[in-house]
């Protein structure tokens, strides 16, 4: 309500200060990425001689082309396109798997009379306590022992062993009015019909929000892919960042800065665009799911 009175008055000094702070914050966030774009638009010799560039040059197309299609790595077999594909497989596979598993589990916990429901609940929720990083070495041994190293299964499935999604869907299902399931039962709908015809349509926005959050989470995975994929054809973009960094510091006389920055931009752009584009869903999902 105070906002209305503000509008009628002439611009005040404190308003200007507020905007100045916000603009400074926005610039702080944008600056490194702006620099990434300007730097990719120059050739490697310029970059090695003069450092990162603040203005735009004319090499951006060439650098992006090299990053996407020039074969590299030890095997000389991978390029940006193959890494982009792997990143998409990891992001989408993870998000999809997470939603299917956690919706099913949450549905069972909330809507069924189940003797060991509380037990199942706790077995699942304990996983929130221990992130993968904490049990990384034994996880690696278990997955390798199962012969899943260097497979998409080994890359994605172990990441699914956490309860974040289940917790979220459980909260959401509990907020769905109880009358709906009563009415469905009176009309003779079974659990399958109720789930598909009523619950899934009701959860559409929530599913979208969770999908975005999980896609970003999966896409951005670093430690696990670094350990479990040693075969370069399975490298994701984020995993590839390590190779890119190493090639800059240990590589040729003139490091391929332009190409490296182009790959970093490609690694960053898809999740950023999704978050910006689906902003309201994403923020809603994030804030709701952490409650």
């Amino acid at each position: 309500m105070t906002k209305i009175t503000h509008n009628k008055k002439p611009i005040r000094v404190s308003d200007l200060a507020d905007h100045a702070i916000l603009i400074a914050g926005a610039l702080l966030m944008l600056f490194p990425v702006y620099l990434a774009f300007t730097t990719t638009s120059h050739d490697n010799i310029t970059l090695a001689r003069e450092g990162l560039q603040f203005g735009f040059g004319d090499q951006m197309g060439a650098n992006f082309y090299a990053a996407m299609f020039e074969k590299g790595g030890f095997s000389e077999q991978i390029d940006g396109t193959s890494m982009l594909l792997n990143s998409l497989i990891l992001g989408i596979g993870f998000a999809f798997g997470k939603i299917v598993l956690s919706m099913a589990a949450a549905y069972a916990i909330v809507y069924f009379r189940l003797r060991f429901a509380t037990f199942a609940f706790w077995v699942i929720f304990t996983t929130i306590l221990l992130p993968l990083e904490v049990r990384i070495l034994p996880s690696y041994e278990v997955v390798t022992g199962l012969g899943m190293a260097n497979t998409y299964t080994g890359l994605i499935v172990p990441l699914l062993a956490s309860a974040t999604g289940t917790f979220f869907f459980r909260q959401f299902f509990l907020s769905v009015p109880e009358e709906l399931v009563e009415a469905a039962r009176i009309d003779g709908a079974g659990p399958g019909k109720f789930f598909i015809d009523i619950l899934v349509p009701l959860s559409r926005t929530m599913i979208a929000a969770i999908f975005i959050i999980m896609f970003v989470y999966g896409w951005n995975q670093y430690l696990w892919p670094t350990l479990i994929t040693t075969d370069e054809s399975l490298f994701t973009l984020v995993r590839g960042i390590k190779q890119i960094t190493q090639s800059i510091y240990e590589g040729n006389d003139i490091p391929e800065y332009g190409q490296a920055w182009a790959l970093a931009i490609i690694a960053m752009l898809p999740p950023v665009l999704i978050v910006i584009f689906f902003q309201s869903w994403f923020v809603k999902g994030l804030v709701e799911s952490e409650k």
Binding site: F112, L130, E141, M268, V287
Partner: protein, 293 residues
């Protein structure tokens, strides 16, 4: 939890089973393995292992290197948490206040959420680079020779800057939504009672924001402890020996490079206990938060 609408016995089991199997194989098995192998010492040549009781733990407790890493982790966690929360709070309060461009500011301040920590580390490593980094040039202009990857303190500084940058958006999103959920009536009442904006903030807004802030405190501690792995791994450039690292990074280097399975597992268990304590704290606070609203 009173709804239990359907009573088919098999369907819920079938629905729960996939999740339970994955959790059993990829969570409980490795976690158990970590606890188990923390009581064994691996033969360095790979000929089996011997039960050594709590030796791995006493070794950790006595290790001056472990103490140094733990000390840095604490320092790093406290700085990253408070800097990113503080900056995000300032930005969120301002973004909540302005009318013009509120949406644009929100977008501009939150998108970094989607940048992966190692990508942030990569941007940082080059901004702070010895030869081509503009931030290094800036410091050189003021007469300081910044040496990332060589000087312990300089690397720590750069790592903290990058980690804070990456974490501001999450805090901003939650704090802004916390601010926006404060009822208009409360704001108006505060406005009548108190003319000073600063006093209003500390007397009314901040206490109402406290549950969100506490929840974020836990989130930030977890971030600084675990999610910064990517930032650190890129910024130390494969040379952790002379550079600052955190406890999680040490679990990784000892386990994978030093192949000290027992020692690495004992470190894992120490971290597990730490996270457990944090989560218990979080749950107790959550209970209290439900009473607020």
């Amino acid at each position: 939890m009173k709804r239990a609408a359907f009573s088919q016995p098999l369907m819920p089991v079938a629905l729960l089973l996939p999740q339970l199997i994955i959790i059993a194989v990829f969570f409980y098995w490795p976690a158990g393995e970590a606890i188990y192998s923390s009581f064994f010492l691996q033969d360095p040549f790979g000929f089996g292992s011997n039960y050594v009781g709590a030796d791995n733990y006493t070794r950790l407790a006595k290790s001056s290197e472990y103490a140094k890493v733990a000390g840095f982790t604490l320092f790093f966690t406290v700085l990253v948490t408070f800097l990113s929360l503080g900056i995000a709070l300032l930005l969120a309060v301002k973004a909540d206040k302005v009318i013009r461009g509120a949406k644009t500011y929100r977008t501009l301040l939150m998108w970094v959420y989607a940048v992966a920590p190692p990508v942030a580390g990569f941007l940082g490593a080059l901004l702070f680079d010895q030869n081509i980094g503009p931030i290094t040039d800036l410091f050189a202009y003021f007469g300081y020779n910044l040496q990332i990857g060589l000087n312990y303190n300089d690397t720590a500084f750069a790592m903290i800057v990058v980690s804070v940058w990456k974490q501001i958006p999450v805090n901003f999103i939650f704090l802004l939504s916390g601010l926006q959920s404060i009822p208009v009536a409360v704001r108006e009442a505060a406005l009548i009672d108190n003319k000073s904006g600063t006093r209003r903030f500390w007397d009314i807004t901040f206490p109402l924001l406290a549950p969100t802030a506490f929840f974020l405190l836990i989130i930030n501690i977890t971030y600084a402890l675990f999610d910064t792995f990517g930032v650190i791994d890129i910024m130390v450039k494969g040379n952790p020996a002379s550079n600052p690292i955190t406890l999680v990074y040490k679990v990784y280097t000892d386990g994978f490079r030093g192949s000290d399975l027992g020692g690495s597992s004992a470190q894992s268990v120490v971290l597990m206990v730490l996270v457990l304590a944090l989560t218990v704290m979080q749950f107790r606070m959550l209970e209290r938060r439900i009473h607020y609203t």
